[in-house]
Amino acid sequence: MRHFLDFEKPIAELEGKIEELRRTTDAGGIDVAEEVAKLRDKAQALLKSTYARLTPWQKTLVARHPDRPKCLDYIRAHIEEWTPLAGDRAFADDAAVVGGLGRFRGRAVAVLGTEKGSDTETRVLHNFGMAKPEGYRKARRIIELAGRFGLPILSFVDTAGAFPGIEAEARGQAEAIARSIEACLEAPVPFVATIIGEGGSGGAIALAAADRVLMLEHSIYSVISPEGCASILWRDAAQAPTAAEALKLTAEDLRRLNLVDAVVPEPLGGAHRDPETALAAVGNRVWDCLEPLLALDGATLRARRREKFLEMGRNSVI
């Protein structure tokens, strides 16, 4: 069953009607092809107009959509010989962070990402994409491994943020994130990161301090969740839509601020309506970004990556 967001209700109603009419036809009733076509056009137009002017809060909901393709969907679509690696060699394996080796368009690469899971069972398994210190230490280990073997790194980021827990703090959540950011910046290999859903604060940048950072059209990237920001600055979590607006967290905003390198357009109605198209679009764009980087040596890549991040905030004005 398709999951509809609140603002998609009028579209859902139209599509329900179309479905109903179709069933009538199938059952041998009167031919309603013309009526169905008309309704379908109407639904399509409505979808188009709705998605053409999504508010930042609506984008936040789309970015968190349960049917949106997840990190592992991108890996399944694009990585051959996928060989997951596990563990931080110190404490545990954190399933919120996915990492491993494989081939992208024939070339050996290291792949990283945060995985939210796609049903109840996998969501629990992956801790809803919220990593603990062992997850960031696993990421760092794989980044360093990639560096040693000259493997380009691809990351797919989708997380509400690092897991806020007692054990996570006791094991050094902050240090683990800091070291993972450091590993990203130091990697002597090409590194392309894609924000595919939620880019939640430090937990996201830990896997995304890359040469090229892409964002899906309806993904978000923010220093704090709109709800968190609203409850601190407005003292009312219900003000989240207002906070989402103020935070400038959409792909378009981040591109305009020059904090990400490109925005990947999504199929009409969002990636969750047509995952295949979204997966293909990301794969193509990642390759377009990666290819020119392959010609550069490690020192150059690292120096340019540093220059890029050192500039951030210096001239960014909306």
Binding site: I166, A174, I181, L185, S316
Partner: protein, 309 residues
Amino acid sequence: MNWISEWALPKIKTLFGAPREVPENLWHKCPACEQMVFHRDLERNLHVCPHCGHHMRVGARQRLDYTLDEGWQRIELPKAPQDPLRFRDQRRYVDRLREAQAKGGQEDAVVVAHGVIEGNRVVAAAFDFSFMGGSMSAGVGEALVTAARLAVLQDSPLIVFTASGGARMQEGAISLMQMPRTVIATRMVKEVGLPFIVVLCDPTTGGVTASFAMLGDIQIAEPGAMIGFAGARVIEQTVREKLPEGFQRAEYLLAHGILDMVVKRSEMRATLARLIGLLRLPERETAPAAEPMLTLAPPAPAEGPTPAA
């Protein structure tokens, strides 16, 4: 002026309940033990409660006064964009910012200085929690990058005293990007073989902890300082458990292997001086400041596949 006007008259006025001219903040209440402390005693004791030893929060310039030898100099910082997102919550960010600037007499939450600690030249950056919660803006990022560049230029160790609630929400993702930016600053210092020392002061949380503040060659904290990534309230709501005694305090972090030491404010100068003395190679002390020591540069990064042994 004589002893009558200076001493006797005020005494008499006080005795007879005349209007008090003394400012009310002559006495401070310790937030921990709630005892009253006379301001001169507090100042003499480096803002540490003489009754219970609680380390009270101090401003950036006060911190530098307490740590560096007399005569330290503040560094002019490059200007960062003010209110890049034109952010507005219940108030306009630009108004909050101007108010903090007027009140604190500084551009943003970090003061950068160069000076000497017991004969050792250092570059120091100190956060001011009273400036918008010491939150990390583009200006704060700029301050740390400047401090790192200056340390490299002057061939001096870099010491950062943190006190921050984390990211500056009003600068959105720009604030987030100060995490990698400040991590790069730490790399610049470390790569030329200079010590980078972090002193975590109360409180240090969020994006500041999760970037440069956890990457010190030596990690020091003041006693009782609250240090963590996620806020205690958020954790409580997520895990629905009572937080352990002393959770996210300096001593808790020390016990969990996250810090090297917890150092009292009164011993900070001597500790920093000793550490710098131990970390600096003897030949470096006589080396000309402008010439980087090539032998101390990190090995070139591995390019291409490394053959298996």
